[in-house]
Amino acid sequence: MGGKVTCTLGEVKQRADFIIYWGGNPAECHPRHFSKYTLMQKSKFLPKGRKDRTMVLVDIRETKSVKASDIFLQVRPGKDFELITILRALVKEQQVTDEQIEETGLSREALNDLVSRMKAAKFGCMFFGMGLSMTRGKHMNSAALLTLAAEMNAFTKFVAMPMRGHGNVTGADVIMRWQTGFPFGISFNRGYPRYNPGEFSTIDVLVRGDCDAAFIIGADPGGTMPQPAINHLKRIPTIVLDPHITHTSKLARVHITTAAQGIAAPGTAYRMDEIPMPLKPALKSPYPSDEEVVRRINEAIAKKPFWLPEGSMPQMVTEQV
């Protein structure tokens, strides 16, 4: 199975009587998620609001989000994939051994109770955070959870959604998909987009020393990436656009200060459920917007000779398999 069974946040607000947060800490990372979208809202289908909803939190440790939950399941670190796989089996009434359950740090009673609640829900929703998608198993964990959500639809309505994080990273995903077909990890080396995470993703590219210039915008890899990646950024010409002088700015050949999006720069940002929201800046920045600067860089490059001489390549290629 692959794919994603999901909805917009308003569906959760209106209908979700059963909510699971897995590997996320919304109380501290998405503080209004509970009040605006998931737990506290009343609706025509859930007139008593919080009382009509059940919230389960699955995480490796007690976070501030535990207080908001009805049930907290503390999974052993690194055992999320196993737990999801066991749940998929239990949902389908397949056999699971005691040893398998023990490995997850949870009891059979707790898991049976969870499964019966999931099936009894009218509308279930699972939100998963970086505690699931960035720990042992990574995208395999996300895929397993998405599969569980899809399979639950044999019993009742069930959806899942990643707790997309920082800023407008969702917007980058959405736009790259429509312009290139792929969400990230793209190479235009052949004159058209190709996708290969692990080969074309930034850390891998930097650690291997594959790129010979870097243009960094709306991120500070100089403060967050592994040292070998940072060392390569120092070696090559790096260009940074940011409202602040960042760690990366300090190792860059060029830094351009830009206006902060939504505060001093207008435009659009995508919500975690891929709904575009208009921005309404309050301040007039003394700095240009990212959009303006990148557009002007594009215009300056357009005046230079093109890297692929016109006529040296066909207009189209077809790679038949």
Partner: protein, 547 residues
């Protein structure tokens, strides 16, 4: 600006059927009577038609973009458009990227496309994507038949209110008209249900039936004076025996204009996957006696594709049938969306029946002004495969050859082998351009008459219509030569058509509390700002009614 001389012109809107005629396009990109002395294309011996118009396709927005994310393996094996100094790169395939969508449509002579399914909540996204589809002109339809605020008005018997709500949404979305998908069924899907017949109340409602939604929404589109009638995806799509539901739906439309989308998927007899058979003869008969209703074929072509539709419950069924990837996206208050990759195989009896049904409808409905070329891209197949369908329509021999590859037990299930009709070039020009343009209410399209948009496709006459239609000699958009002998010359931005229906100004105040109950966005931020629609061309419905 441009002069085209000596070509054999097929211009159904002006009843020109293969006569030699010169065309002149002025500096504004429109056909004119006067001669211009700029560039001349000598089209002697060539075939000249108005640029193609796709009445029903899915090329931009959350759903197709979800499909792109789900099919990276296809992107890698498909046709790639290489970056040039002035033109963006792109990928073709089952769910082409935006830039490639423009190149591919223009490359086969299509110059106008109608994106047939837009949730208002993500309409900003759709418009942004459309702005990145070069060359072609565009319009969009707003998904309405499962909008709970509207359904509540219909349940309460408040027709005028419902009409104002629809008009409010069309303008909020900056769209061109109304799309109805599985009326009531997608709303029921929000609880995992469906609505498969027209007379049972919808889950969550006491009285309201899909039949009432169909009747009232069609009337609303007419009353609002929208240029395009209600664009309807009927209930019970894809199911064996659904011809009963489809004919019942058509009876609910008596007296109204309507466009029935992808009718191939709604023309099945039988009572299960084993017994499924074509019921196109019955459906075609209805169209033949009701000239106020139009349809597009939603034809199926064998091969890989990805299905995307607002019909969430159908996609759940398709996922269960195929066990392939499943994407689902329910949109608060408004609609749903499902995505499942699919392969149509000639050896599969159901797929073979579907393939025959699409062609049968295109051939059995007598007037090409009523039935239009479509695959419901990408559902029945990708739009860039239209030339294969044209070849099937123009050549009975080719059809017979293809029928031989179908399972032998298909004989009593389809009527295609008995159909002798072959499309003429005039039929093709009507079904691919003049007809859909008229149905969309785009008077300046699909028409080579004075004052209309200078969108022209010119073919070298060839024996194989598949080859001929796949590789136009020239494609001209608003007087500009876009394609010349298989090369993309220019990739200008297209326009977007939007409609402005009238609604009671008090609708804003009426909508606000209802909106705040079910949405998660601020009421003020919800409507798409007109500045966000690139190249907007507004059709004022009210003025239309007054005049």
């Amino acid at each position: 600006m441009l002069r085209i001389t000596g070509g054999k012109v097929y211009d159904p809107a002006n009843k020109i059927d293969g006569q030699i005629k010169d065309l002149n396009i002025d500096a504004d990109g429109k056909f004119s009577d006067g001669q211009c002395d700029s560039r001349t294309i000598d089209a002697t011996g060539m075939i000249v038609m108005p640029g193609g118009v796709d009445v029903h396709t899915h090329v931009a927005g959350g759903a197709i973009n979800f499909a792109r994310a789900m099919t990276p393996e296809d992107h890698r094996r498909t046709q790639a458009f290489i970056r040039t100094k002035t033109r963006r790169s792109g990928l073709g395939g089952m769910a082409p990227t935006t830039f490639a969508t423009g190149y591919l449509y223009a490359g086969m002579g299509w110059t106008t496309v109608n994106e047939a399914a837009v949730p208002v909540l993500s309409a900003r996204h759709t418009h942004e994507e459309l702005a990145d589809i070069p060359i072609v002109d565009k319009s969009t339809l707003t998904l309405m038949a499962n909008n709970e605020i509207m359904l509540d008005q219909m349940e309460a018997g408040e027709y005028e209110r419902a009409r104002d709500v629809v008009a409010w949404y069309i303008w909020a979305a900056k769209s061109y008209g109304v799309k109805a998908v599985n009326p009531g069924g997608v709303a029921a899907w929000k609880w995992g249900g469906d609505a498969r017949n027209l007379s049972s109340p919808i889950e969550g409602y006491n009285k309201l039936t899909p039949g009432t939604i169909v009747t009232q929404l069609a009337r609303i589109c007419d009353d609002l004076g929208l240029p395009h009638p209600m664009h309807l995806h009927c209930n019970d799509l894809g199911a064996p025996g659904n011809i009963k539901t489809t004919l019942d739906t058509l009876k609910h439309l008596e007296g109204s204009r309507a466009h029935i989308a992808h009718s191939q998927y709604h023309a099945y007899g039988g009572d299960g996957w084993e017994t499924i058979c074509s019921a196109t003869a019955e459906l075609a008969e209805y169209f033949n006696s009701h000239p106020n209703i139009t349809t597009d074929a939603g034809a199926v072509i064998f091969g890989d594709t990805v299905t995307i539709t607002a019909d969430g419950p159908w996609q759940h069924l398709l996922y269960k049938l195929t066990g392939r990837k499943w994407g689902n996206l329910d949109v608060e208050n408004e609609t749903g969306c499902g995505i499942v990759p699919y392969t149509y195989r000639p050896s599969n009896l159901v797929n073979a029946v579907q393939w025959a049904c699409g062609l049968e409808l295109l051939l059995l409905i007598q007037s090409p002004w009523q039935v239009f070329l479509s695959t419901d891209h990408p559902n029945g197949g990708c739009f860039w495969r239209y030339p294969e369908i044209i070849k099937l329509l123009m050549s009975r021999d080719f059809r017979d050859e293809c029928i031989k590859k179908l399972p032998s037990n298909i004989k009593n299930k389809i009527v295609l082998p008995e159909i002798a009709r072959e499309y003429t070039l005039m039929d093709v020009a009507t079904s691919m351009s003049a007809g859909p343009a008229r149905a969309l209410g785009l008077k300046q399209k699909g028409n080579l008459g004075t004052g209309c948009d200078g969108d022209v496709v010119i073919y070298d006459q060839e024996d194989d219509p598949g080859e001929m239609f796949a590789h136009p000699r020239y494609v001209i958009k608003a007087g500009e030569v876009i394609i010349d002998d298989g090369e993309i010359r220019e990739a200008p931005d297209g326009r977007e058509y939007i409609a402005k229906p009238f609604y009671d100004p008090a609708t804003n105040d009426f909508m606000r509390p209802l909106f705040e109950d079910c949405y998660t966005m601020q009421f003020e931020n919800y409507p798409v700002e007109i500045e966000r629609v690139h190249g907007a061309s507004i059709h004022d419905c009210k003025n239309d009614q007054d005049s």
